[in-house]
């Protein structure tokens, strides 16, 4: 794995996306529209409770879906086999994708956060900027999760089904619907090893605080750790030799 090859891959992925303006538009419009819909259906004070955690979860969902087909496309087009027979490292490929989609995730989370606070009237006692930071981290986590599962998908049908498998249980257990402490013991243990739990906890921390807390910093570090570990695992599952 070399920086030059990783950057070349990131650049190539972004060039591909430039030729697909509809996907680019949807990446920005869909989470923003969902946030707008949420603001519309909820009374103001309820939106201020549900808005901040979902601010990160909507981009996570969208980035997961987009990236979960990424290496699948490489596989079906034969370019994956070609690249792996060339001097490209497996990490060049996965981290190249992560860089490109990570950049999009960043733009997306910033756009959604700006709209939520500036247009949809989201209001928190703590720091809006830090809530936005969690949204960015969530979107990056979605990218890493999507890339990780895409290394296991062999068909499009498999790839899309990873969403209910990977994301829905996390959504149910992350503390959004039932507080993690109120979950049955076994489920609490499960929740504690799922990344989304830390994303929701981090958001809750900064809703009420204008500066970072120790818990917040710990949560963000855990989320970053999850993202890097998932990408490394994803790269590890790519096989140069196949049957």
């Amino acid at each position: 794995m070399t920086p030059a090859r990783t950057l070349a891959t990131a650049r190539r992925v972004l060039l591909q996306l430039r030729h697909d303006p509809r996907t680019l538009a949807m990446l920005l419009v869909v989470p923003s529209a969902l946030m707008g819909l949420l603001a519309w259906i909820l009374p103001d004070e309820t939106f201020d409770v549900w808005g901040p955690p979902l601010l990160g979860i909507f981009p996570l969902l969208v980035m997961f879906l987009v990236t979960s087909v990424a290496t699948l496309r490489e596989r079906t087009s034969g370019t994956l086999e070609r690249l792996l027979s060339m001097p490209a490292g497996r990490g060049d490929l996965i981290f190249g994708y992560a860089l490109a989609f990570g950049l999009l995730a960043l733009v997306q989370a910033v756009v959604v956060s700006s709209l939520a606070f500036g247009v949809f009237g989201l209001d928190v006692a703590g720091s809006a900027g830090l809530v936005g930071v969690v949204a960015v981290v969530d979107a990056l986590l979605g990218t890493a999760l999507g890339l990780f599962v895409s290394a296991f998908a062999r068909t499009e049908f498999q790839a899309v089904q990873f969403m209910p498998v990977v994301l829905v249980p996390q959504f149910l257990l992350c503390g959004l619907i039932v507080a993690v402490d109120d979950l049955p013991t076994v489920l609490r243990w499960v929740a504690q090893v799922l990344p989304l739990t830390y994303a929701v906890e981090a958001t809750r921390e900064v809703i009420g605080s204008t500066s970072t807390t120790g818990t917040f910093r710990g949560d963000v570090a855990i989320l970053a750790g999850f993202a890097v570990a998932l990408l490394a695992l994803g790269a590890g599952t790519l096989r140069r030799r196949t049957a």
Binding site: R5, T9, Q16
Partner: protein
């Protein structure tokens, strides 16, 4: 072709099993440097599997494959061996030039090389066209162009001239001979027997077995036939009637 130089590829007792079926059955042959070796046989005979074994992307059940004096698939070989799959493996949503530029960066070759290759595969006019808008033959040429980047010492080309018009086919074969003259080893597969005459050496395959490994002239003399197609048929008849085997 230097008879004393080590071969570009040395395959010994290669055996490949896919899905419980033996698709390559105990094959041994060499591919010399500085020459074009044609790998001929009907569709499904195991040509692609043999090529994938040489490139090092195929899980093999037995035997050894040495490429440029290293075991196939060694990391050191990845910039020295170029492989073109039968289906064009390039990005449809990138332009021709951007495709070549990306693969050049992966290989670590200067981007000036991209212009040379665009000329060699006659795609200068389409440099800014998205690959998805090209015809099948043009797309294959982009894929082939990728293999011409840098200075590969071994080129493994799986059916590189399918869907290519006769003029360009002639030019591509001239290019292959030029590459061989500069010292590269080429292994070119085809299911079209009339391409055999353009090769320096031939490997004939059927049902995962090697029927012949010799020059086109030797093959015709040995089988007493006028075309490679007839020679192929003669060899099959000989193997299917064991009493008549003269080999």
């Amino acid at each position: 072709m230097d008879a004393h130089a080590p071969p570009a590829v040395d395959v010994a007792d290669l055996r490949v099993v896919r899905g419980g079926r033996v698709v390559v059955d105990d094959i041994s042959f060499t591919v010399p440097a500085g020459a074009i070796t044609g790998l001929l046989g009907p569709s499904g005979c195991g040509k692609t599997t043999v090529m994938r074994s040489i490139v090092g992307v195929q899980i093999v059940a037995g035997g050894t494959v040495d490429v440029l004096s290293e075991p196939a698939g060694s990391p050191g070989l990845r910039a020295r061996v170029a492989y073109v799959t039968q289906a064009p493996s390039v990005y449809g949503d990138l332009t021709v030039r951007d495709n070549l530029r990306y693969f050049a960066r992966i290989l670590g070759t200067p981007s000036a090389d991209v212009d040379r290759v665009l000329g060699e595969v006659d795609l200068e006019r389409h440099a800014r066209t998205l690959v998805s808008r090209l015809s099948g033959g043009e797309r294959s040429r982009v894929s082939l162009g990728t293999a011409l980047l840098g200075a590969p010492e071994l080129l493994v080309l799986d059916e590189p001239t399918v869907g290519v018009d006769p003029v360009l086919r002639r030019d591509l074969w001239a290019l292959f001979h030029d590459l061989a003259a500069r010292g590269a080893g080429l292994l070119v597969s085809s299911h079209v027997m009339d391409e055999a005459a353009r090769c320096d050496r031939l490997l004939l395959m059927r049902d995962g077995r090697l029927l012949a490994e010799e020059t086109p002239d030797q093959l015709l003399v040995r089988t007493g036939t006028a075309t490679v197609e007839d020679a192929f048929l003669a060899l099959i008849e000989a193997t299917e009637a064991p009493a008549e085997v003269a080999r």
